[in-house]
Amino acid sequence: MKVKTLLHGIAISVLLYGCGDLFDFHPYDTRFNGEQNINANNIKRIEADCLNKDTLTIAFISDTHGSYGDTEDMVDDINNRNDADFVIHGGDLTDCGTTKEFIWQRKRLAKLRMPYVALIGNHDFLGTGNEVYSVMYGNTDFSFIAGRIKFICLNTNATEYDYLAAVPNFDFMETQILSDTELFDRTIVCMHARPYSEQFNNNVAKSFQHYILRFPGIMFCLNGHDHCLQEEDIYGDGLIYYGAPSASRRSYLLFKITPTEYHHEVIYF
């Protein structure tokens, strides 16, 4: 009798526990359900929503890794202000690149009322992280056009490849400079690690500048990675790199872009 009672007890506790994600195969198992290709799906929405807009408002957030509470508050803050057309995440969704962390972050960012895209950060490469990113978000280099502005999102995490890969990918940049030129007049370049950081391939930092300056109507660059607020003309060529603080600093950047100029604001929440 006692055995039966105990077995029933075990069976019931197992069933109760079954509400969640029951079995863990491995932190780097790349096993997940739910939304995939988030960037491509959201870019469709962004391009449709912003097609004829002449003024854009963009929230730039970054480095939300390990700060789930702060990320929730940030998402609430962006939702409550209700003026952002879309959100760009500057990378480092995860601390260790584990599949669970990607799922935990996706759950928080899915609460955004407007579409978002996320770049890959260096932490997102750890273990099988880059493989999860590729399926969950898409290509590590991508672009889209919103209201006649082209947004170029680049993977600049060269250290993660031991400098063996084409990172930054100049071929991709060249293609983007030359394609769809009738659809955009200005360009904004986004990246995780900016030139001269320890993740960037600094051997090609000057070549990178050369390619960046070839983009039609280049306005400014956005980066994450350094976890602090940055506003710097890195090359002394007049092009400003704006760095977003990490979510744990409880702040993000908001850009308002009109046909002739742009303003930026640091939002603390």
């Binding site: 077995l7 029951l22 260790c96």
Partner: protein, 220 residues
């Protein structure tokens, strides 16, 4: 209890090996030379390395399915050490992976029911799991600045678990190879998940715990 005779390597004369319920040992040490006794000790030491258990386990951050061998020891056989090899399917990655686990169990209590069943209300322990593949490293590769990633490694994980077990004992007259079979479950988590939970209060215990199920076959 049964008795077999086997030739003793040392002297050529037969030595008696008794196989009782739980252990194998060589009896009758009277009249042996120091050499014979040393050979016996040598045999006893190597006997200790004979695996006494076969284990299969599902999930538990060591692959989807793991197979391995185990040893039990201690006055009440309250300690177990397992060596498991796990298979991790490819899922969304480029290929499947193998893992290896070294697991230490502690089972403080055992309640027997009529020599047919026993229940162990608590099993607990830790295990080290390593995953094979070029994308994982044990120590930070040289391409990174010193202490770039503030955690141990992507290759080796330290896991902790608690669980419960129930054992069916094969009647002595029906035993062939299997002395008893144990079904168990464990609830476990690993170092980086615990770290994530301590870093952020929004990561709950339920987020980081996982269930695993297993069967242990006791051979001797």
């Amino acid at each position: 209890m049964f008795t077999v005779t086997a030739p003793c390597a040392a002297s050529g004369r037969p030595a008696t090996i008794h196989s009782e319920n739980d252990s194998t040992y060589i009896a009758d040490t009277s009249g042996q030379s120091p050499y014979d006794r040393r050979v016996e000790t040598y045999r006893k030491l190597w006997n200790f390395l004979i695996p006494t258990q076969l284990i299969t386990q599902y999930a538990g951050n060591m692959g989807q399915i793991s197979l391995g061998i185990g040893w039990d020891y201690g006055n009440r056989r309250q300690y177990e050490t397992n060596l498991l090899f796990g298979y991790l399917p490819k899922f969304n990655s480029s290929r499947a992976k193998m893992t290896m686990t070294l697991k230490q169990n502690f089972i403080p209590w055992r309640f027997d029911f009529d020599d047919k069943f026993n229940i162990e209300p608590l099993s607990c322990g830790i295990y080290f799991n390593t995953v094979f593949g070029h994308e994982f490293w044990g120590r930070e590769p040289k391409r990174y600045p010193d202490k770039y990633y503030q955690f141990l490694s992507t290759k080796v994980r330290i896991n902790a678990f608690v669980g419960q077990r129930i054992t069916a004992i094969t009647p002595k007259n029906k035993r062939k190879f299997v002395k008893n079979i144990t079904a168990f479950y464990e609830i476990s988590t690993c170092d980086i998940y615990i770290r994530a939970m301590f870093q952020d209060s929004k990561v709950s215990l339920g987020d980081i715990l996982g269930l695993s199920l297993g069967i242990k076959v006791q051979m001797m």
